[in-house]
């Protein structure tokens, strides 16, 4: 059972680490949000300086692998995919569910379903045995995670029994808290060093 303050707490804590948190009433609303973000975003955000940033030739070459707007949504529920592909077709966005390995130059949005949320740190938990899910949440410029409100727990201890169960077989699970960040140069915070530049959490309200 989720109490409203868990949603509130998660929202507050996630916002503190620069995640964008939005409540959504339905999966359809979530998919509309995803396509809107994709349409609204710059073609390539990775380079703060735009595409003509000075790169070595190898790095430059990788840039060329990305020519259109792409959303990667591996392992999303069938209904949501239906909505999403309709919206993408309408807005001229390429929707893929696999083949992330050949798109390491970056894609616009990686969409995943979070299995849980941890309120006290503003964390989403992404279970990603599937390599495509793993990469979608790592390689994209924007990672959007849909988080069912009912799966939010108070702290990581509350999630322990579930995690232990998963770990009984091969497993790859991540706690994701805010976008990728570094402070390695002069301790100045920079977002999006290797992973996503932005993290959006869509909290899916209980029916």
């Amino acid at each position: 059972m989720t109490t409203p303050n868990l949603v509130e707490l998660l929202t507050q804590k996630a916002s503190l680490v620069s995640a964008v948190v939005r409540p959504v009433a339905s999966m359809d609303e979530a998919m509309a949000y995803v396509t809107d973000v994709c349409v609204g975003k710059e073609a390539c955000q990775i380079l703060a300086s735009g595409c003509d940033a000075p790169l070595s030739d190898t790095a430059e070459a990788l840039c060329e692998t990305k020519q259109e707007k792409i959303i990667c949504a591996p392992q999303m529920p069938a209904e949501a995919m239906e909505t999403l592909s309709g919206l993408c077709a309408e807005k001229g966005i390429r929707l893929i569910t696999s083949g992330m390995r050949s798109r390491l130059g970056g894609i616009d949005i990686g969409l995943t379903m979070a299995v849980a949320g941890i309120a006290d740190t503003g964390t989403v938990v992404v279970r990603s045995m599937s390599e495509e899910v793993r990469l979608a949440s790592m390689v994209a410029e924007i990672h959007i995670a849909v988080l069912p409100a009912s799966s939010i727990v108070a702290d990581s201890y509350a999630l322990e029994p579930t995690l232990v169960e998963w770990m009984a077989q091969p497993d790859y699970t991540a706690f994701v808290t805010g976008p990728s960040r570094t402070a390695d140069i002069e301790r100045v915070l920079a977002l999006g060093v290797h992973g996503p530049l932005e993290l959006h959490i869509l909290i899916l309200e209980d029916k």
Partner: protein, 719 residues
């Protein structure tokens, strides 16, 4: 990497580091910001309790490393991971090179691993013809510069954006802007192709969970996730001390580590990997997965009652963040591979005596690291222990064994001090300072004036000033320490006057007492230190007194905690030491908490007084309020100074061995005190008074520096 072969050479390197203005400013800024961000991160959390829990859980794990290894291996192998145990650094490197060969690996990406730094893994793999790229931004930068890390969490904290821009210009062959946001994005794009091409990924592991065979990685950048996902082979290299029984242990550490490291509630990513997960480019669509555990002396350390706590370390780097010495000279000079306080200890075990012998002397014993350690490791004591061990192995330097011989013989020591009074005449010029120092004796000591030995020692005044108390309610022994006895007897006299205002307090000054022995500990003369402690416990029979009061914070903390440790292996003496320690109390706590002195005792005009918190009082004994409150009780206006509890740079013998560092710390202290606008400072330690008063004297700034007892005595109402 610190590689000096002699102390002289080490001091030269330290002087060079002091000249690195950028590094010093960067570390200074960080040290100040860190205080606030750590405090904010722990707001509402009982940090000491969390730290105690971590320490206890780690201790359990350390006692069962062999079983935990077997358990981890069983579970991990069932899930498709191959598990190795390497006895030495070289063996670990060979195992990893072999895995590379067997899998036809050409290129490797690495995420951050201190253990790989420990084994010099990159050098080994590169010698085998493999291409290795560090992908953590800081690690990549220092790899390109062919350097080691200067901080465990922020490896490139010593470099400026200009240096990084120049470096990236070289790497990309294109002129780069000096803009951090852009530089970070350039790194992102430059490293992506490396991830794409790599055949093998090497990571560390923050946790190895025995119950499930899972490894846990905590990172901020996300490179750890790419490293463990893209290449078809993944090797995790971890110290065997990373083993812990259950996931709970790891979750507990995650609550503390990021907060203690950088003031973050949690890192951006915590990744849990169990077994060989699907991987498109791996054989049969699965990852080739290996975990290599490194022993390299850890198993032996786990059986060493004194040093096993080193294995509790969770590599948060906090002990460097707060260390005043690290802050001055940076990690290349304050560590070998592991840096900061833990580096001083770990270097001896992982990299040998040669690498450690100079380093371990460079510690003020200020206790800042111990107070902040996420695993409750008693770092300052261990640093001194390593020093003592090295001296036992290598032979004690002459000055140090002579000091041991002199100090443990009370009458010889005191006779020498008394003759010093006569001998110093030509150098005092009639002032209370040594004016014309014979330079060969006190080379580089001129940054502060040193006090002269007083005309009459406190012990020689005692019979004259001793208050006579009939029907005593409380019996108190006074412990003066050498400095107050022979240099600042007026501080003791002031204390006697203050204590005497309460009726029924009988004071004794046991004449047999000698130096507390801390200086010997600082010099690594453990054996002589033990004899001295036994001597003092005989001279002051604890059972005769309710309290043993001392005005010296260093003596107090050493008498209270150090003595028990010295006799840990001798039950009878340990019992005696515990009885003794139980009665030891510092002057301020005694006057405020036991005597309960009130403002009625005081009169006189108001005056602004700032305060310096002695390391051994505020951290050593946890006394923070009493002295400040007493100033208020006495009707003085206490004005707080910046960084009040940062060491003044005295550190006993430290200031003699490393005058350049001592001087820098003193300068900072003096500037902070001056900035308060007050012109008087109180404190509770004669060593700090010697240092700070001497500094103001050299600075030619009139500033009153006195013991809390003196301020109280001055304002006592005449009866």
């Amino acid at each position: 990497m610190q590689d000096a072969t002699t102390l002289k050479e080490y001091r030269r390197q330290l002087r060079e580091a002091l000249d690195n203005d950028f590094q010093r400013q960067a570390l200074d800024k960080f040290a100040v910001a860190y205080r606030t961000s750590r405090a904010n991160a722990f707001a509402g959390i009982d940090a000491p309790e969390l730290i105690a829990e971590i320490a206890a859980a780690k201790d359990v794990a350390i006692d069962h490393l062999e079983e935990l290894f077997q358990e981890f291996k069983r579970h991990a192998e069932a899930a498709g991971t191959t598990v190795h145990l390497a006895a030495t650094a070289h063996e670990a490197n060979e195992i990893i090179a072999r895995i590379a060969k067997e899998n036809n690996v050409k290129t490797i990406v690495k995420s951050k691993s201190m253990t790989a730094e420990e084994t010099h893994l990159n050098d080994h793999l590169e010698a085998e013809g493999l291409e290795v790229t560090e992908t953590d931004l800081g690690e990549w930068i220092i790899q390109l510069r062919h350097e080691g890390p200067t901080h465990m969490v922020m490896p490139a904290i010593h470099l400026s954006r200009y240096q990084v821009a120049d470096l990236f210009t070289e790497v990309t062959n294109k002129k780069q802007d000096v803009d951090i946001q852009k530089l970070v994005k350039v790194a992102r794009r430059e490293l992506r192709p490396k991830f794409c091409q790599a055949d093998m990924g090497i990571s560390g592991a923050n946790f190895a969970i025995a119950a499930t065979g899972t490894i846990g990685l905590i990172t901020n950048e996300g490179n750890g996730r790419l490293t463990t996902t893209l290449p078809r082979v993944h090797v995790a290299l971890a110290g065997i001390d990373k083993l812990m029984p259950s996931l709970h242990d790891a979750l507990r550490i995650i609550r503390c580590l990021p907060k203690n490291a950088t003031g973050q509630a949690i890192t951006s990513y915590v990744t849990w990997i169990t077994g060989a997960v699907p991987c498109e480019v791996g054989p049969e669509g699965k990852k080739v997965k290996h975990v290599v555990f490194l022993d390299n002396g850890r198993m032996a350390m786990a059986k060493d009652p004194e040093f096993k706590q080193v294995l509790r370390c969770i590599r948060c780097g906090a002990c460097a963040n707060v260390c005043p010495v690290y802050r001055l000279v940076g990690g290349h000079k304050y560590g070998h591979i592991y840096i900061g306080a833990i580096g001083l200890v770990a270097t001896y075990f992982f990299h040998g005596r040669e690498a450690a012998k100079n380093l371990v002397q460079n510690c003020l014993n200020c206790g800042a690291c111990k107070a902040v350690c996420a695993a409750g490791i008693d770092l300052p004591t261990l640093i001194k222990e390593v020093h003592a061990r090295i001296q036992d192995e290598e032979g004690h330097p002459l000055y140090s064994s002579v000091a041991g011989q002199v100090l443990k013989n009370r009458s010889l020591f005191h006779t020498m001090l008394k003759s010093a009074r006569l001998l110093q005449k030509p150098v005092t010029g009639g002032t209370p300072y040594l004016r014309h120092l014979p330079m060969f004796l006190f080379k580089d000591q001129d940054f502060r004036a040193l006090p002269a030995v007083a005309d009459e020692a406190f012990r020689d005044r005692w019979e004259k000033i001793k208050p006579h108390v009939t029907n005593a309610k409380l019996k108190v022994a006074l412990f003066s320490g050498c400095v107050q006895d022979f240099v600042y007897p007026e501080q003791m006299e002031a204390a006697v006057a203050v204590i005497a205002t309460k009726e029924g307090v009988a004071m004794e000054y046991p004449m047999g007492q000698s130096c507390c022995g801390l200086p010997l500990m600082m010099m690594g003369e453990k054996k002589a230190g033990r004899e001295l402690a036994a001597h003092n416990m005989n001279a002051i029979d604890a059972q005769d007194f309710d309290y043993i009061v001392t005005l010296c914070a260093s003596c107090a903390s050493y008498l209270k905690h150090g003595y028990k440790r010295l006799f840990a292996d001798d039950p009878a003496m340990a019992y005696k030491a515990a009885q003794f320690a139980h009665r030891v109390i510092d002057f301020s706590s005694f006057v405020r908490d036991v005597l309960g002195i009130t403002d009625e005792a005081f009169a006189g005009p108001d005056k602004k007084v700032t305060y310096h918190a002695p390391c051994h009082l505020c951290r050593g004994l946890g006394v923070t309020e009493a002295p400040r409150a007493l100033l208020g009780v006495a009707g003085l206006e206490y004005v707080p100074a910046e960084e009040e509890d940062v060491c003044c740079g005295f550190g006993g013998t430290f200031s003699v061995k490393f005058p350049e560092l001592s001087k820098e710390l003193l300068t900072k202290k003096i500037n902070n005190l001056k900035a308060t606008g007050a012109t008087a400072m109180a404190t509770d330690c004669p060593g700090c008074i010697m240092q700070i008063r001497g500094g103001f004297e050299r600075d030619k700034t009139p500033f009153e520096v006195r013991h809390v007892a003196e301020y109280l005595a001055e304002r006592l109402k005449r009866k």
